[in-house]
Symmetry: C2
């Protein structure tokens, strides 16, 4: 089927940040076949979508999270990190069943699709359940079974086997929408020998590694105390950066550590809102960019955010670094939007598939309802997307050409049922 | 006419932060007559609104801004403050006619109403035009003619006369929805003798004073250089704090200055997003609260924000201070919501009229569409309002009992016309 979106204000996010004021984009069999000036004759297309002058841009890319945790949204706020984890998150996560993971995942997937995220990273367990939800809902994801290594040898091996089986079962599935990684949870929750085993396995499987790193000062100090090195040198020594690697957070990283990360082309997922809410600090994003690191945006889970609206991260990354470094020129709107789109895709080694509107890429496309007061006067669409928009303005979403959100409604998942089930699962917890 | 909103989850924002899970609120002649458990028999009411379990809360209060500047939204971002002002804002503001002010004001008022703000502060010129838009649209506002005093004696006097006439003409108008203040623009744009004249006039008129104060380090240093004192002591000496006073920003204020402000019960409008975007810094809000100051939230203009959605300020104030002070317990959700509601009203000396859902207050009420994924699982409504909601979730808005936003549509202003006119006015600028 040949589809065209006409009368669109196209924000392509190609290298030159081309904006096409009155454009069209066409796709067939999931792939973009045309991006350019508006078309005069739509009769050669099977399906014609009139964007009515609305902004059309690539689907956003969320590079770190734990989607099943949406069941814990709003359950505990405004607490110090350790207390939050030990007295609130872990006791409830300990009660998670596959059913919790299932409905938590669907709740998050609907939220992401409806706010314009078409690709996300997830690190959790019961990943088969998450992958099935991805498959069924039509979203794109890079998934990994997060492994905490503080366990007996037997349990460690079991986790690695589980993670391996997950990669073998799901890599390239859902018509290529699912890709995978191997994921030691973090340097402070995984003994060095365990991390080395995971690295070995990732090399064999030929998949990247994803881990939390240097989210808090506490972790960094612990690493120095236990291993005599800061986390970056530690992970380098363990071979993590010999694989393609994506690290989440990177809040407390020194200049020397940034140099090591740059040398290995390690990708950083900046979780700006979660880092503020959990009082972890402000990552040195400007320095990362100056050193040529690829930086993208992650929401983390909705338990520490408390939503998965990447438009909020977009605005936050463009605001925060200006304010705390007293420089209004830092992270301009274009840079922020790049992080959430094309650089997000590159960070996941998915730049052939998604992240910009270019012929040959897959049709991951979102349409914003910009015929609203929030977007007036109508000029500089990149400014408006970054500083004025909300994920709630997303009207239509296509992933791999499939119309997964139609006029604000998710077409692949029953939202009412998911809301019902998410509340039912929450009530099952012993609080 | 007697109206009742039934089946509501009421967030009252009374002193005890009472939440009524299954409640009702009634009003008549613009005033709240009942807040409590759900009603069984709605037949005694002329109008029954079924909230269907949605959250119902007081309208939000925006305590600082310049609404006509919405025409400059997205025109200039990511620039240093002086360059932004001198090369971008002032040249266009110099071209403003009454017609620009009119359509810029309507654009902002629609935006505020649709995102749940029912009361706002505005400091600008051509205030008759702003006041007429307030009157006609049904919103509530505290308005003042902002006076820059760097001018000849004659022009200074003319401005004071204009501001005085505005107070005399509009105080208490629009059925009491309009109140007024006198407003010297700031210590760095007004000579001391001019400020003293304004103070004298404010006392005669018996209205509060509103001014910008200590937004940037530059201003503070200039004040010390020119007058040998920091801005707070300077304004105290000039008698500003002998009047009820509301200052905007207060980013760069020392502990001693906070003590002076507290002594005079000066109210502070915290403009958290604008301060970040213009790289002004982070105001010491936690210290302000510890010293007992009344702190409320302001968006500033949409030229430095770039929207007027107070839900974004709400979330930002609850996030930012945690992150930059490494303390996740700072500004918990309840405190943030207080700033945007009841403390906002107190900051404007309007606590008898608005800011909470209490019998006897005027019916400034908003309904959020919370039957969406963003609000699930359904518990702790205050957390969800602060951390998960967007202004786009506002469904219905009542001001003084009048239904000014009905199912997402503004009933008092023609949105399509305003969008058209705002764009037309923008095109009139010589850029």
């Amino acid at each position: 089927m040949k589809t065209v979106i006409k009368n669109a204000k196209l924000i392509t996010m190609e290298n030159d940040h081309r904006i096409i004021e009155n454009g069209a984009i066409a796709f067939e069999n999931g792939k973009i076949t045309y991006v350019g000036e508006n078309i005069d004759d739509p009769t050669t297309y099977d399906e014609v979508y009139d964007a009515k002058g609305n902004y059309v841009l690539p689907g956003l890319v969320n590079t770190h999270g734990h989607i099943a945790m949406s069941l814990l949204r709003g359950y505990a706020d405004d607490l110090p990190l350790q207390q939050w984890l030990e007295t609130k998150m872990w006791p409830l996560e300990g009660q998670y069943t596959k059913e919790h993971t299932k409905w938590g995942s669907y709740l998050s997937i609907i939220e992401m699709l409806k706010t314009g995220t078409t690709t996300f990273v997830d690190m959790y367990d019961n990943m088969d359940v998450v992958a099935s939800a991805v498959d069924q809902s039509g979203i794109r994801a890079k998934l990994c079974r997060g492994m905490i290594g503080l366990a007996s040898d037997e349990v460690q091996m079991q986790k690695i086997e589980e993670a391996t089986a997950f990669v073998q079962d799901w890599e390239g599935k859902a018509n290529g929408r699912i890709t995978t990684m191997m994921s030691p949870h973090s340097p402070y929750t995984c003994p060095p020998a365990f991390i080395e085993k995971v690295v070995e396995k990732a090399k064999l499987l030929n998949v990247p590694i994803h881990t939390h790193m240097s989210e808090t000062l506490f972790e960094v100090e612990l690493n120095v105390k236990e291993y005599g090195q800061r986390p970056v040198a530690h992970l380098e020594k363990l071979g993590v950066f010999d694989c393609p690697a994506l690290v989440a957070h990177g809040v407390h990283v020194s200049d020397e550590e940034l140099d090591i990360l740059a040398k290995h082309d390690v990708r950083v997922s900046h979780n700006v809102i979660s880092n503020l809410k959990l009082a972890s600090g402000v990552a040195p994003v400007q320095k990362m960019l100056e050193k040529g690191l690829l930086v993208s945006l992650g929401t983390d889970s909705s338990a520490s955010n408390n939503n998965l609206d990447l438009f909020e991260e977009l605005k936050q990354v463009a605001l925060l670094h200006k304010g705390v470094h007293n420089d209004a020129t830092l992270i301009p709107a274009k840079t922020a939007l790049q992080m959430a789109t094309v650089d997000g895709a590159k960070s996941l080694w998915l730049e052939e598939q998604t992240g910009s509107l270019e012929v040959g890429k897959e049709a991951d496309i979102i349409v914003l309802n910009t015929n609203q007061v929030f977007f007036q006067p109508s000029h500089d669409p990149i400014s408006h997307v970054v500083y004025s928009a909300s994920g709630r303005d997303v009207k239509d979403v296509f992933v791999q050409g499939k119309h997964v959100v139609k006029n604000g409604e998710c077409t692949t998942v029953d939202e009412e049922q998911v809301i019902f089930e998410a509340n039912r699962m929450f009530k099952k917890f012993t609080l």
